[in-house]
């Protein structure tokens, strides 16, 4: 007697033509995120290229600090790198904060969703035919995030110093404070909060350990960073917006559009 081999039925996914069956407003969040990112990128690009009104004693815009080139405004920085007058000094340094944010695990989520649409929202079919994620160039470069973290930490120290020297008046006398000082102080605090809540920071200071009980100090640091890390998204947005506002305030004061309010 011949036997017909039993083959399991060939199974396929459910054929559902719609991109998604979600009924909630899933476009809202990526649109908001995309709009904020777009506004920031447009404003920051203009502010970086305009090459004026970025310094007014004792305030310097975070987009131009540290100001390292010979063409920086008088008193604005260290001024030791030979530079050409037509090129904005910001070009030399802006790659650090930009790279830190672009490789940030939170911003990656934000722009992969809102700009690259990969995916736009959970359970919504993405428009790309092929997907290789972060397995190859150029997105494999995201793995350098930890290096940006360390260099950005150096920048935080410099921007904190900028906030400290803002406790002077226009003639360099200490013991004074204006609204600009407060703006720079908040900026420095937010940038530190953003850096310290970073996932690479969390890994470096304790996350990479296997045996927490053998390293109680690092475990304590990891615990504190973990608490801050839970708010990384919120801190990322607030610090981004505040950097832009800080530049705008200093720009308005430097151009004479508004007068800095002096507290004492």
């Amino acid at each position: 007697m011949t036997q017909t081999p039993l083959e399991p039925p060939r199974l396929e996914r459910a054929e559902i033509g719609a991109r998604t069956l979600r009924t909630d407003n899933w476009r809202r969040q990526p649109m908001i995120n995309g709009a904020i990112l777009l506004v920031f990128v447009v404003y920051a690009t203009w502010a970086i290229l305009v090459n004026e009104n970025y310094f007014v004693e004792p305030y310097i815009s975070p987009f131009y600090s540290p100001c390292l080139v010979t063409t920086c405004a008088e008193g604005a920085g260290w001024q030791f790198v030979p530079w050409v007058a037509w090129l904005t000094p910001s070009i030399l340094i802006i790659g650090v904060p930009m790279g830190f944010r672009m490789t940030c695990y939170y911003y990656r989520k934000a722009y992969y969703r809102s700009i690259w649409q990969s995916p736009t929202a959970c359970g919504v079919k993405e428009p790309h035919k092929k997907y290789t994620g972060e397995t190859r160039f150029p997105l494999i470069i995201q793995n350098v995030h930890r290096y940006f973290f360390w260099v950005a930490t150096l920048f935080n120290i410099i921007l904190t110093w900028d906030a400290i020297i803002a406790f002077r008046d226009h003639e360099g006398n200490w013991g004074h404070m204006g609204l600009g000082t407060l703006v720079l102080l908040i900026n420095a605090v937010l940038l530190w909060a953003y850096s310290l809540s970073c996932h690479a920071c969390r890994h470096t200071f304790g996350g990479r350990l296997k045996h927490f009980s053998k390293a109680p100090v690092r475990y304590w640091m990891w615990t504190q960073i973990t608490r801050l890390n839970a708010k990384h998204m919120e801190i990322a947005w607030v610090s981004l917006v505040w950097v832009g506002l800080t530049d705008l305030y200093i720009r308005l004061v430097a151009s004479g559009t508004i007068t800095d309010i002096r507290f004492f």
Binding site: E12, P119, E134, N143
Partner: protein, 257 residues
């Protein structure tokens, strides 16, 4: 008591359609209750996989209004009943019938991960560890294997061809769990990237969004694993250090059978 309109996907082997039903809904009920009422009163051949009705077995995973959910944990009161409620099978896996999927992809991926590898020189009962040593891994042990995270992950949901190379968030979390375990001696970092496809993950956090156990899959498992992989594979300073010092061997690529 009220009436709700349901649009339930009916079919097998991929061929099917959304069928409309109007069904009675009582206060306090969940979607699974309503599906059971449909079976009892209108369509006894409706296939639904379920077991505990308490959000702990992970059997009744499906998509409700396009969102991956457990039917037993989705209260009817949280859904807009003025519009038809769409109930469909998990999109990432092949359909056996109606709302029941073949999730064997997940078992294949589970078997590929080398199991817990303690130091053979340490006898049972000798290893000592504190609560803080295992609490990270314990979060991942809450997983009920409902595979909602696997289903929602766009890497395989939208790209069937990636199933070969990508194990999905649930099993990358398993790799992270073992990698973080203080008594495990294997080095799974290279395998995570090359064998289980961690590089495909672009950390858009959908797995975390749908997890019914509220496990922070992305922040606590996938990103820490990405950092560990960056150390092992992409960090030039660590590479330089490894040329001078000694590095533990990577896990042999053997199936966990």
């Amino acid at each position: 008591m009220s009436k709700a309109k349901f649009r339930v996907w009916r079919g097998d082997a991929g061929e099917g359609e959304l069928v409309d039903y109007t069904v009675e809904v009582n206060e306090g009920e969940v979607v699974l209750d309503v599906l059971h009422r449909l079976q009892a009163t209108q369509t006894p051949d409706l296939a639904v996989r379920w077991n505990c009705k308490a959000g702990k077995c992970g059997s009744c995973s499906m998509e409700i209004n396009g969102r991956p959910r457990l039917a037993c944990m989705t209260r009817m009161s949280t859904l807009d009943q003025s519009e038809p409620i769409a109930v469909t099978p998990l999109r990432t896996f092949p359909v056996i019938r109606d709302l029941v999927c073949d999730v064997s992809y997940n078992y294949v991926k589970a078997r590929q991960i080398p199991s817990f590898t303690p130091d053979p020189s340490v006898k049972p009962g000798e290893f000592r560890m504190q609560q803080e040593d295992v609490q990270r891994s314990q979060e991942f042990r809450r997983c009920i294997e409902c595979y909602l995270c696997q289903n929602v992950c766009h890497v395989i949901r939208d790209h069937e061809e990636n199933k070969e190379a990508f194990s999905g968030p649930r099993f990358l979390m398993r790799v992270a769990e073992l990698e973080m375990h203080p008594a495990d001696t294997a080095d799974r970092r290279l395998a995570a990237q090359e064998d289980y496809g961690l590089g495909y993950c672009n950390i858009t956090k959908c797995c975390t969004e749908v997890c019914p156990e509220h496990i922070k899959i992305t922040d606590n498992a996938l990103i820490p694993m990405k950092e560990r992989v960056a150390t092992r594979k992409y960090d030039p300073l660590v590479w330089l250090g490894s040329k001078i010092g000694r590095r533990p061997a990577d896990t042999p690529k053997v199936p966990n059978t």
